[in-house]
Each structure stands twice: as C-alpha cells, then as structure tokens.
C-alpha cells in the first residue's frame, strides 16, 4: 500500500520541481551497414535507423502519459561513424552525415550522436577523414552531433589528435559564424569517453554495446535543490554530511523513475535496456539549475573557495544514491556544470566570480568537464588545444571522464554576451587568464604517456 505522503512527494517532484526524463536515447550499431559504395551505406543506415527507431517517439509519449513524467528528448546514438569511413573521402563523409541527419528527422528525433572517432592511441585514415570533415558536416546538418576521444587512462593523451581537434573547433565555429559558432556546440572532445552515455552532444554507441539498446538520462537538479531547501527549513543547522544524505535519498528516487521508463521503452520496442545515466543536467530555466544547489548548500557566490568541495559532495552523493537505486547505472552519472545551460552558473561568470581556471578545478570532481564554454572568436587554436590537454590530463590522471565543449564565437570578445536560445542557453564569453604561451608545448605533438598505476600518493 502506498502512503499518502509518498504519493504527494512523487507528485511534487514531477509537477513542481522539474523532475523529468531528460532523454531516452536509442543506441544503434551501424557496422553492418558498411559498403564499398558510400551511397549504399547511406541507404542501409537510413533503413536500419527507420527500422529500429521508427516507434521510439510514440512509445516514449505513451509512457509519458501513463506515468505523468515528461520525457523531454528522444534521441539516437550510433556506433562511431569513422568505422564506416575507412577508405572513403571527405565528400563521402558528408553523404553519410546527411543520411544520419535525414534518418533522425524521419523518426522525429532532435539530435543524433555518434559522428565520432576514438583516436586516443592513433588515427586511422577513416578517423582522419571524419575529423577533417567536421567543419563542413556540422555546418551543413541540423541534428548530427560529434565526439572525438583523444585520451584514456590506459593509453595516455594523443597530442597529435588534440592538435587536429583544436583546429577543427575553430574551423567549425567559423563555418557557423552566422549562428555565433553554434556548430562547435555539437562537438565534444573527450578523455575516457563512456560507451553508453545518452546525453548529447557526446553520446555514441560503443563497441561493447548490443546491436540496439535503450539508455536513459534522468535529470532533476530542481528536485535536489528543493530537497535541500526543505531539509534546511526544518533543520537550519544541518551539517554537510546531512545534506549529502538528503541528496543521496533524492538521487535514489530520481534514478528509479529513469529506470522505469527505460526498461518499459526497451520492453515495448523489443530491445535491450542499457543504463540509466543519473546526471544532474540543468536547463536555463530557474528552478532547474545545478548552481542553485551549490547556493542552497551555502556557496553564496559560485566560484568562491569551497565551490569545488560542494561539487565533489554533490557528485559523490548523486552517484551513491543512483548506485543504490539501480544496478544499471552508467554513462556519466553525476553533476554536470554546463555554464551556458545553467542560469546560476552563467550569472556567476557574468559577475566575474566563476573563472575558467576555477571551472577547471571543479571539473576534477564533477561528472564531465568544461561544458558549453564560450571563448573569444580570436582565440588561437593552440590555446584551445592547451585547454583540451589540461582537461584530458585531469581525466586521465583521475581515471574519470572529462569532456570539453568550447565554442569560440566568431567576432566576439571576452565579456560579451551570447544567446543561443532554447536548451543551449546563453552566457558571457570567458577567456583563460593567460591567452597564449602554450604554443611550443602543444606543437611538439606526439603522445603524453599513460599515467603510472602504482605509487598513487
């Protein structure tokens, strides 16, 4: 028998605190679509996506009605497209990109991830074709997202790949200058990329995944924030461990809603259920913010000393609650800090409290990395490479995922305001304290070896 307080608390989470299923992402393996003629590959890719994902949106909407949970996004991730581009050209890459984009549109999907390459140890010809095609691909498609993994804890950091990617980010932003460089917002550079994350723009279907799989991303920063508020209203002197306990309990409930939706979607579509990714992913809406959680904990000015500790507390408590709730927790699972997509973080940048360097420290303990960071349009590619190398080093050394999604905004300078609209939000252009000086280091290229696995102090 369900108690009335339990019913009302669940209704409150869903109605008033913005708890939703942020994304149901179907992962599809496209390796069986490979063909010597790219046009045939494109036909097979479209057919397979239509076959597997044709009923995804309808099924999600039916379950949304049944349980009263908003399933905000229905998305696709595919196996790395670079695997279909071996022996192909840049124009072939564009044909494949359009096929993916068109297929996503046909099944009613807003974003499709997996135009990706894993180049942490070296670059194959197909991966090089994919990377070099990105400025054209991301400026000529609507739904396609890309990710490049440049480092792992086991392989170290491929600096040669970072050099290419830094340049590509600049070119992609410039190719979409009429949209304020928005093309770069659809490209994530990773260290230790997860194979099963449902969140864009970094979702792809890894080689360890089944032919077709449903992964779910649940959000809910508003629920966590209100839980802390309620605790502090009742017990104003609550200690940080008591706050962590409250976050943990809330994360349990949030995770369960995601697993319920994911399992039932998978069952109805006759595919395997993969993971629920419990990432506190904000939106620009007030009441749906990670930054507001830190403020509720007592960090008045986000970026002040103590902010990194607050991120660590939140990230760990979320993971613990999620792990207790489900044996199928995966992806990134933790706290995102996408600056543009979170009004409180964006405000902290505008106030000058939150700097790029402080964000970098926070990424050492959050679940992703430097996400949705606006940079000056005239920033050097080598400086972007330096930012990527620093983040990759944090991920590789800490044995965690770090992602870098930076947007050099053509024609805009440090401190200027940019608005992408919608879920991508708005914000102030940031810049490193030192805009140059790493060129020689970056241009040496080569490989930063994998870190030692012993002597861990």
């Amino acid at each position: 028998m369900i108690r009335q307080t339990e019913i009302l608390s669940t209704v409150r989470m869903l109605q008033d605190e913005n708890l939703d299923v942020r994304t149901v992402t179907m992962g599809i393996n496209l390796l069986d679509c490979a063909d010597s003629d790219i046009k045939n590959t494109a036909v097979k890719v479209k057919a397979k996506i239509m076959l597997k994902a044709g009923n995804l949106v309808r099924t999600c909407e039916e379950l949304s009605t049944k349980y009263g949970i908003n399933v905000v996004n229905k998305r696709l991730s595919v196996s790395p497209a670079s695997n279909l581009l071996e022996g192909k050209t840049k124009s072939d890459a564009l044909v494949l990109a359009h096929a993916l984009d068109d297929a996503a549109a046909a099944v009613g999907i807003d974003l499709i991830g997996g135009f990706s390459a894993l180049v942490q140890k070296g670059i194959t010809p197909g991966e090089r074709v994919l990377m070099e095609s990105l400025p054209e691909v991301l400026s000529n498609t609507q739904r396609l997202c890309s990710s490049i993994n440049v480092a792992t804890t086991k392989a170290g950091i491929n600096v040669d790949a970072v050099k290419i990617v830094g340049d590509i980010i600049k070119k992609t932003a410039n190719a979409t200058s009429s949209d304020l460089g928005f093309g770069a917002a659809k490209l994530v550079v990773f260290a230790n990329i997860p194979e099963d994350s449902p969140f864009m723009a970094g979702a792809y279907t890894g080689s360890g995944e089944p032919d077709c799989v449903i992964n779910v991303g649940v959000s809910g920063p508003g629920v966590v924030k209100r839980a802390i508020d309620r605790l502090l209203e009742k017990y104003p002197d609550s200690s940080l461990d008591e706050i962590a306990e409250e976050v943990k309990h809330t994360a349990f409930r949030v995770t369960r809603t995601g697993e319920l939706i994911g399992r039932e979607v998978a069952e109805r579509l006759g595919v395997q259920f993969g993971v629920v990714d419990l990432s506190l992913a904000p939106t620009p809406k007030v009441g749906d913010s990670i930054g507001e959680i830190y403020q509720a904990m007592g960090i008045k000015n986000i970026g002040a000393p103590g902010t990194t500790a607050a991120v660590a507390l939140l990230n760990d408590a979320v993971k613990k609650g999620g792990a207790f709730a489900s044996s199928s927790v995966g992806g990134l699972s933790g706290a995102f800090i996408p600056v543009m997509e979170d009004h409180a973080l964006a405000q902290a940048v505008e106030n000058g409290y939150l700097t790029l360097e402080k964000l970098e420290a926070m990424t050492a303990v959050c679940s992703v990395g430097l996400d949705m960071i606006l940079l000056p349009g005239d920033i050097q590619a080598e400086t972007i490479c330096g930012i990527i190398l620093d983040e990759a080093a944090i991920g590789v050394s800490s044995r965690k995922t770090t992602g870098i999604r930076v947007i050099p905004v053509p024609g805009k300078k440090h401190g200027e305001y940019v608005d992408f609209g919608g879920l991508f939000g708005s914000g102030t252009i940031m810049a490193p304290n030192c805009m140059d000086g790493s060129e020689i280091f970056v241009n040496r290229g080569g490989h930063i070896p994998a870190p030692i696995q012993s002597l861990t102090n």
Binding site: I2, I7, S9, T65, K66, R253, R256, L260
Partner: protein, 192 residues
C-alpha cells in the same frame, strides 16, 4: 475450519476510543467466527471498521449483530451485519490497470460529484478515496482502476475538463511510478 463455511461482512461505526478493535474481535471470536479480513480507519474522530468473518455454522444476522452490540453498550455504536453473497458481486470482465488520482487546490462544493460522475460514466472504478487539508489547500487522493482498452490520454483530457470549473491541479498516473520511487526492489518486478 470446515470445508463449507458461512461468511459475513460486519461494519461498526462509533466515536473513537482505545480498545474498540479488541472489543469487536473478542465478540466475533467468542461467537466462533474466524476473522479473515479487516479494514479500519478513523474519520473525523469516528472509528470505522469493516471486517469479514467466517463461521462453520450459518448465523442469524440479527443475533450476531446483537452479540456485537452487547460489547458496546456504553457507546453510541452503529453495527451492520450482511451475509457475504459471492454471486451478487458484479465484477467487470475486462482488464484494468491501477491509477492514482490526485487533486490539489482550493476546496469548493461539488468536486467529488464532478469526479465520481465522470468516472462512473467511463467505467472507472474508485477503490479508495481520501481527502485532507494542508495549509489552505484541499488534497484528494484516489485509487482507481481504469479499463485497459480506454485511451488514457483521452481520459486525462476529459478529467481535466471535468475539474476545469474548480481551482485544482489534477493528475492521473499509473500507480507503478509511486511504487518504484518509494519502494526498494528490482524495477523488473514492478513492470512485469
């Protein structure tokens, strides 16, 4: 118990005090009845219990009622005894799913009438309904079963229309969402 038993439904209402349940169960047990189900609540300080009891021999309903009343001579109690008649119970032969209905907002006359009228017209069976007040708001929570063949989206839209004359926020959600967010256990067990 013997193979053939006689089952009775007994309902008792009286002002609440400590020991009521003890008194009625003692009365039934002393009459050689085996209590096999109890549902009890306190509403506006009135204790209400409905129980079923099986007997090896057919009972005189009036005599059984008097036996129970004798245990409550100091109370203003109302007792009803009915013979359980399985053949008189009309059960719809359709597949149903359990949903939780919630309504939160400003109280006003006619809310329950509007809802029950709509649900009855749609063959939605109300199995439990409760009302409470929190701050200045009325909160209705109901457990209902909805025939599976009905279009849930349409039901939700019509339900919203039925309550649109009141200042209320209403939801109809499958009960599983409330179970998975509050109970520990494998999700697979809830959806299969």
């Amino acid at each position: 118990m013997a193979e053939k038993t006689y089952r009775y439904i007994i309902t008792l209402i009286l002002p609440d005090r400590i020991g009521i349940l003890k008194d009625i169960t003692t009365a039934v047990a002393d009459a050689a009845g085996n209590i096999d189900a109890i549902s009890q609540t306190i509403l506006a300080d009135y204790f209400t219990v409905t129980l079923t009891s099986s007997f090896e021999k057919k009972q005189d309903k009036e005599l059984l009622k008097q036996t129970i009343c004798d245990s409550f001579t100091k109370d203003v109690a109302s007792v009803i005894v009915l013979e359980h008649n399985a053949s008189s119970i009309k059960k719809a032969n359709t597949r149903v799913e359990r949903y939780i209905v919630t309504l939160i907002g400003r109280d006003s006359p006619g809310i329950i009438k509007a809802i029950t009228t709509y649900f009855a017209a749609k063959n939605v069976n109300i199995e439990d309904w409760s009302i409470k007040y929190e701050k200045a708001q009325v909160i209705h929570i109901g457990e209902v079963t909805i025939p599976s063949q009905l279009d849930l989206k349409q039901i939700q839209a019509e339900f919203a229309a039925a309550i649109s004359q009141f200042e209320l926020k209403g939801t109809i959600q499958n009960e599983i969402i409330f179970r998975v967010t509050n109970e520990v256990g494998s999700i697979r067990n809830f959806i299969t």
